[in-house]
């Protein structure tokens, strides 16, 4: 059963529904929210609701943790800014750190793991050198893994800082070059917006497009409820401008990502109730995505094994052409055997 994930989505959309929860319902809700990394977002959404004392304490913990997480995320961004400042290269913050740095609603309670940044592809070698000089080190040690990232991925192999133990992902575009859609990385950078500290974030339309691309054209939808919640929050804030959706779809076409963005709009509306009157019903494929997104039970266990495997396989399929994928999986299998 995926009732817990459904309950989480419903509580995020309509906080009043928690009034009807018993102890078991609360436990399932909090467990699922924690597993989906949405517990702090839920905590902010439930402000003002009558909540049992035990649940209120857990939610207060989550808010404190998110506040501290935001401090750490911004500090990590500042460390990268200082390391890259002499290069005079535009550095664009991505994902959670960007939402927090830009003061967007989507940043409220947003869990941030790694620092993600986007830079111009031709400046990657300089950026890499500057980060290594400032204390970041490679995480991957096999030469094949390094080769894999450099040849076929949209980012450098991950780096970790030796003192602060935090990872940085340096992107040069928002999808692997081997994937079919080819986003216009130059336009992403050209239209980005400056923050007071000199770092940058993507334009509003590109923020939504990147979130949609990350969710529906890249990974296997693990943790997808959180990514879709980002999209809902971004849309609610940006659609205050009446022509935003039309401009967003134009821009998505330009980036070759209209399909992913339209799916994001439909699922955001149907799960989180994003006010999008012009967006229609879910397709059959959307329903499969919805089932994958909601695959979490009241003990925070992943459910729907088959559908999760299917999306996992699909995530590789959409990232690489078949022959390249076959070669990659063969090499990884050999490495796995040699390691075991």
């Amino acid at each position: 059963m995926s009732r817990a994930a459904r309950l989480l989505v419903d509580a995020l959309r309509d906080p009043e529904i928690v009034a009807g929860l018993d102890a078991e319902g609360w436990t399932a809700l909090l467990s699922a929210a924690r597993a989906e990394q949405l517990i702090a977002s839920l905590a902010y959404r439930l402000e003002g609701q009558a909540v049992p004392e035990a649940a209120a304490a857990t939610l207060a913990d989550a808010k404190r943790a998110a506040e501290q997480g935001a401090v750490q995320a911004l500090w990590e961004a500042e460390m990268a800014r200082r390391a890259l400042d002499p290069l005079a290269v535009p550095v664009i913050l991505l994902k959670g750190t960007a939402f927090i740095a830009a003061g967007l609603d989507a940043g409220k309670g947003r869990f941030v793991g790694d620092l993600d940044i986007l830079v111009e592809r031709e400046r990657l070698p300089d950026v890499e050198r500057a980060l290594l000089a400032a204390g970041w080190e490679w995480v991957k040690d096999s030469s094949y893994d390094m080769h894999y990232y450099r040849s076929w991925m949209h980012e450098l192999p991950p780096l970790i800082h030796r003192d602060r133990d935090r990872m940085i992902d340096v992107h040069h575009t928002i999808l692997p070059p081997t994937a079919r859609p080819k986003p216009d990385a130059e336009a992403l950078i050209a239209d980005s917006m400056s923050l007071p500290n000199g770092m940058r974030v993507l334009s509003p339309a590109d923020l939504v497009i990147h979130a949609a691309a990350h969710l529906f054209a890249d990974g296997d939808l693990a943790g997808g409820l959180r990514n879709l919640w980002d999209i809902d929050r971004l849309l609610r804030e940006f659609t205050l401008r009446p022509d935003f959706i039309a401009a967003l779809l134009d821009r998505a076409r330009h980036h070759d990502l209209e399909k992913a963005v339209r799916r994001a709009l439909r699922l955001s509306k149907h799960l989180y109730g994003t006010p999008l009157p012009q967006i229609g019903r879910l397709s059959t494929a959307d329903r499969l995505h919805r089932r994958r997104l909601l695959a979490r039970d009241g003990w925070a266990r992943p459910t729907h094994w088959f559908i999760r495997q299917a999306f996992y396989i699909r995530s590789h399929w959409i990232r690489m052409p078949p022959l390249l994928l076959a070669r990659h999986l063969l090499i990884k299998a050999r490495m796995h055997r040699a390691g075991a």
């Binding site: 018993d22 102890a23 078991e24 609360w26 436990t27 909090l30 467990s31 924690r34 597993a35 049992p52 004392e53 035990a54 649940a55 304490a57 857990t58 207060a60 913990d61 989550a62 404190r64 943790a65 501290q68 401090v71 750490q72 003990w299 925070a300 266990r301």
Partner: protein, 287 residues
């Protein structure tokens, strides 16, 4: 899950689920006198699950899962399922606790004031706390000291005490109902759980003011050494599982704790010497 048990230890509620009945039965028996989580809502969930499809029946091995997991935590044999549950609960505290600054330490209380015993594994803090708990002190916990950043008070976390190897023989006078089942051949040798006495359980919601901090070391000639505040601070950052995650709140709580609590390093050769030493230092130093 098929089998489950919920319990409150100090201020923390746990829900433990398992695909096997055995570990849950053993846990419910050990914690039979403890209350349910506040409002019936657990703070943390632990799941005992097979590592893969076959491990449920064939040489069953218990994987430790939950809200927070360590990917490298090795599964345990089903006959040690109780241990897996305990480790799972400790793991949730170590990785997920954000309300209190957590120190890896044992705590006992007298007249509202707390004695904190901390040190590396094998220093004997669990054993000492359990011995003191049978000699007029209230056992507040043998694993974690919970410092409330808002008040500076210590909260009790009196889980059952897991005694190892020779330490089990130091409690000859206790009745059978105080003991859990003997567990032989665990990764840490022979283990037996000691259920805290009723005072420790009944009063577990009462916090205490930190009054004395000791760094005991077992197996050395008796000696007491002064220890500077800076060193105490650094040692406690290493003894805390969540100091870094708490950020500024953790720093403020810890510096306040260190500046108000007298501390000594103590070496002791055996249990009786340690008891006498603790009583003497308590008279001299406890603030």
């Amino acid at each position: 899950m098929r089998h489950s048990f919920s319990v409150r230890i100090g201020p923390v509620g746990f829900r433990i689920g398992s695909v096997w009945k055995g570990p849950i039965q053993a846990l419910a028996e050990l914690y039979r006198d403890y209350p349910a989580p506040l409002d019936g809502i657990a703070d943390f969930t632990v799941r005992l699950e097979p590592d893969d499809l076959f491990r449920r029946w064939l040489r069953p091995s218990v994987g430790i899962r939950g809200d927070y997991i360590l990917p490298e935590a090795a599964p345990l044999a089903l006959r040690h399922g109780l241990l897996a549950a305990e480790m799972g609960m400790n793991l949730q505290m170590a990785l997920g606790q954000r309300r209190y600054l957590l120190l890896h330490a044992a705590v006992v209380e007298r007249e509202g004031r707390a004695l904190i015993l901390t040190g590396e594994s094998g220093a004997g803090k669990s054993t000492l706390a359990a011995l003191l708990g049978e000699r007029g002190w209230r056992l507040m916990g043998d694993e974690f000291a919970l410092v409330d950043p808002a008040t500076g008070l210590l909260h009790a976390f009196p889980r059952v005490v897991s005694l190892k190897n020779e330490a089990i023989d130091l409690f000859p006078g206790l009745t059978a109902e105080r003991w859990g089942p003997p567990l032989a051949g665990t990764p840490k040798g022979k283990i037996r759980h000691l259920r805290p006495n009723s005072e420790a359980i009944v009063r577990m919601a009462e916090p205490a003011r930190p009054a004395l901090l000791l760094f005991p070391r077992y197996g050395f000639r008796e000696e007491v050494r002064e220890i500077g505040r800076a060193e105490v601070f650094v040692r406690l950052t290493q003894a805390s599982t969540n100091y870094v995650n708490l950020g500024e709140a953790g720093f403020t709580a810890l510096t306040s704790f260190v500046s108000k609590t007298p501390a000594r390093a103590v070496d002791y050769p055996d249990g009786p010497a340690a008891m006498a030493l603790v009583e003497r230092l308590w008279q001299e130093l406890a603030g």
